[in-house]
Symmetry: C3
Subunit: 447 residues, 3 copies
């Protein structure tokens, strides 16, 4: 660990406390319950509109919110536990940065979405949006997994949430783009931002930790918990903030069928390119989800079920092939060390989703939707370009900020290792899950 200061005792408590104190102060000054959450305002509304408590939007958004919440904390958290010796950090740092990001996102998005008399109004919809923004940060985390300290991750979240909210504002409010499931705002942005940060933080000696940068039997099963939850609840994710009624209903169905088709494509491709025709857990854990990403924009449109299936099938194919052929090239040639392969799961499928959205919007007719969507295709295409630009430029800047050696980051030789930040009883205990076992007899000190 020569030259490295990985002790968190000073840096992490300081970062957490300062950030949370700032959040509490800003919330005190700026944030108020919205008219469906505030006792007085809601009771006034009930009287004035002769409305019913059952019509509080809570009942029509909260189940979707909880599904999204599960995706953020269980889905992303456990998906990343696939590493043999990084399970604590995966699920717990995911937990930490998500808990921070959702608070910060409430402020940033509230700021951009329009203040009410100098106040940000919050309710169930702002909670969903905050979770969405958090998802983007967690995607970037996936590219950096195992190579960063929690302090770096929190700092990244501070900047990324801010950029996310700005980009989202440009897309949804200025360009009037449609992107309810976030193919662009969440997936494309999060993936390319994270990839650029990973590029800037390139670790030339990382192969010294290579033996830990892989899974073991049970860590792969833990990761499947994440995969399955993401897969099941993706229909809720894509539909969580679409308009009520047919839009939400349709988005759910399109996503459901896209994912199902994507899964078959993933198994087909994984076996096709695997040594001896064998399946690879990495593909199943990740590429089977690309179908959800790829209908993130067009899911709410009249994509039709078979259209969704075709898109999902394509996404699963691209994603699996990306894991097999593209990721190794990106690491060697572009020096991008993408731990979770977010380029394959969120990057390419996100762009595919943006393109499908632009095309579908272009083909939309007044007759089908009942109202016009002229120029929508063009606005969608511009939105993709803006998103990529924001991610690349933002990623470079934030990457260099994170590169400073003051955040207790791990050295190249001890990446992908919980013991650096966690009290792990002994190295020995986890050893059976670990190839290091070959050297066991040489490690008498453990015994």
């Amino acid at each position: 660990m020569a030259g490295y200061q990985t002790n968190l005792r000073l840096t992490l408590p300081l970062t957490c406390v300062i950030l949370e104190v700032i959040l509490i102060i800003l919330f005190a000054v700026l944030v108020e319950y919205d008219h469906e959450t505030d006792a007085k305002l809601w009771h006034k509304h009930l009287l004035q509109h002769n409305d019913s408590n059952y019509n509080n939007d809570f009942y029509y958004r909260y189940p979707s919110f909880q599904d999204v919440h599960v995706m953020i904390f269980v889905g992303f958290g456990f998906l990343m536990t696939f590493l043999q010796r990084y399970g604590f950090s995966s699920v717990a740092f995911n937990f930490l940065i998500a808990a921070f990001a959702l608070q910060w996102a409430t402020l940033m998005q509230g700021f951009f979405h329009g203040m009410h008399g100098g106040k940000i109004h919050i309710g169930v919809e702002s909670m969903i949006n905050a979770d969405f923004c958090t998802g983007s940060v967690l995607i970037s985390f996936g590219a950096l997994l195992g190579k960063t300290s929690p302090v770096q991750l929190l700092l990244m979240a501070v900047f990324e949430v801010t950029l996310f909210a700005t980009n989202e504002y440009i897309l949804l409010s200025i360009l009037q783009a449609k992107d309810a499931g976030g193919s662009m705002t969440i997936h494309t942005f999060g993936a390319y931002f994270g990839l650029v940060v990973a590029r800037v933080l390139y670790r030339p000696q990382l192969d010294k930790s290579k033996h830990k940068n892989c899974s073991v039997y049970h860590s792969d099963l833990f990761a499947m918990i994440g995969t399955i939850y993401l897969w099941m609840f993706w229909p809720s994710f894509n539909s969580a903030i679409t308009a009520h009624g047919d839009d939400q209903h349709r988005t759910v169905m399109n996503t459901y069928y896209s994912l199902a088709a994507c899964t078959l494509a993933t198994f087909a491709m994984s076996s096709l390119v695997g040594p001896g025709g064998k399946l690879d857990m990495v593909h199943i854990q990740n590429a089977a989800l690309a179908g959800g990403v790829a209908v993130g924009t067009a899911g709410e449109m009249m994509l039709t079920p078979f259209g969704s299936m075709a898109v999902g099938f394509l996404a699963g194919t691209i994603s699996t092939l990306g894991y097999k052929f593209l990721s190794p090239v990106m690491e060697k040639k572009l020096k991008i060390q993408d731990t979770c392969g977010v380029h394959n799961l969120h990057g390419m499928p996100g762009i595919l989703g943006a393109v499908v959205g632009a095309v579908t919007a272009s083909l939309a007719t007044r007759e089908v939707y009942g109202d016009g969507m002229e120029d929508q295709g063009v606005r969608q295409a511009i939105s993709l370009a803006v998103t990529l630009g924001m991610a690349l430029v933002g990623g470079v800047i934030v990457g260099f900020i994170l590169k400073l050696p003051i955040y207790s980051g791990p050295p190249d030789t001890i990446c992908f290792e919980d013991a650096i930040y966690w009290e792990v009883l002994t190295a020995l205990i986890a050893l059976p899950f670990h190839p290091g076992m070959r050297q066991l007899s040489e490690n008498k000190k453990y015994l």
Copy 2:
């Protein structure tokens, strides 16, 4: 592996791609959004009926759908991870065949449930029904677990879904039987179909893989994830497609109490018959769920809470005793190798549920329900007979189709083993959970 061709490289990609292409074409030709999912139709409906988006049935079915979805993918998937070296296959083949079956079921059920001008109309209710049909296939999978290739399983799903839809049509539409939770259509059909297929695929040399056909400590904990999710969401399963209002409310309650009573029965019986009074994880993982199966038909009726509890208690008792005493006999005498014991969890409790349904329906009076249910008991009883007949005949035919040696199935000596289809890092890694155990007696010091 003499004579066995277990390489999936040709068979699996081909099967997946052909099936998915057929699905996409059939969806393109036959499937349309229903009036609550289609933009134009729903907006027209809103105008004509002065209705509200909040009354889209999506809001009253989707939470139940998601619970069912969790049962299908997490519940069934993780329940089957109990085998020490078959966790990847359990959760991932479950994933694959469910993703296929739900698409195929959409078409088959749509075809039988009535076409609209030559088109199948889909919405949240068809999604629930498709998941239900998928559940039946997964039950059959449980009987075959560890002994079949994914290609065989996909092929089985093609046939089983078709037969399921036919049987369901006969029961619900022709015989006008009630079976909202699928005691007959899902559990009885899936179990006996799977058992017959297992009988036809009997492997005389299977005891050569016997040392892998058992659990290890952590695989049993993974399986409990499946159990608990199935148990918790079973009320949603049984009520997901019952009529709105009191029916749905009542079905949930009956299932809740049935399962609670079943759990106490299972612990009681497991300890009673266990060596030294010790509990057996197999019973807890499976038999505690029998209470949900057994009120699948009568759950929506006025079964009363104590009636539900009595049925659940009985189901848990039968199921536990089945695992202990019946399964070994079935394997020896009937040559049915039932890996997960689906006969105990779905077969017998399914029949019990059908009988309870027939009796409850017979006892129903106009006074209690507000409308007549004459002859309902008889129709319920006939339905059970039809279901058993369909399962047995269908199972024999499909079993012989699956017996052809062209599907990359495993040899008797390498059943219950992930390494045959999956890239597993090394045998070493998983060894602690494993057979190494054969040498146990030599390691006296551990004992």
Copy 3:
């Protein structure tokens, strides 16, 4: 095991069967569907009020119920699997006593909440209340984890549910206190009851089982499943039985922000007090949840988002410090062996929640809420005192009842060990997770 009779064959089946038979009889005599669950009553209601099935309260409570249900069975169940050799017992005894307690609670709470013509009426709200009461029993279980037989636990549940219902009645009906999320009724009561029982059951020789009273790598990951589910669904827990409309909406938001702030505090404190600045999984698994406990009473009030965050931050801080500094002292000085540290997660944060509730209620004005809450603060404070009194006195009595040597409890030397009650294949299997590994080097053949 000298002198100890740990065989469950007689005691457990007998206890389960007797309890369940009593339950079934009492349900038959006393319990009826309520007017939203009973076919005849609901149809009558529909006609009389020209109401819609969509307005059955089922649709506005059931999603919350299911979230609570997940917390009870997955949350509590898996949180307790952190022990290396007690995973089966943790998740399965949790399952057993919860399945019993929810039935018994239906009767006890129904009795106190008011009978209707000699009958207890049940529906989705009674199911939520029964799950809440169950939660309290599971909190007490946490203090006793690893040191009691399932028979003792069932017996404890019989008494604790009864006391819980009595205390709840006094607080909510007589004192008219507010405590929707159960800071007092559930957390404070459950924790102090359990701690007193643990005190009475003090095991002087427990350090002979000390090597098993800790986690291993993968058991900590299983526990995180519990933690994350508790954390995510706590907003549903606190809001599940609040009034519909703004109350439910607001409670969810307050809990969401309290938990987020609590998580940052927990990471900060854990690193601050950890050796070498390292984080401790025990803190993350538990203290990060204290924010949910601490807004259990005030969550439904106009606590404001920043107020919730401040409370959550404080709760996380207290809880983490409690784990670090207070628990060891309580064990040494007070002879309270609190396996899960429920004092830190439920005890102190519960009291904090009660105090916050009393203060917030005192500050409430007619203007903010639209109706008066005079004296509410005083009633809240008295409620806390009553709860503590009930827990302490009740815990002493029940503790002595459980101390009788007739319940197959484990000896001090074999606590925290599944093998005593479960068929575990061999000691070897679990060995890799286990200190026995010290002898590994002698087993060269495995390497």
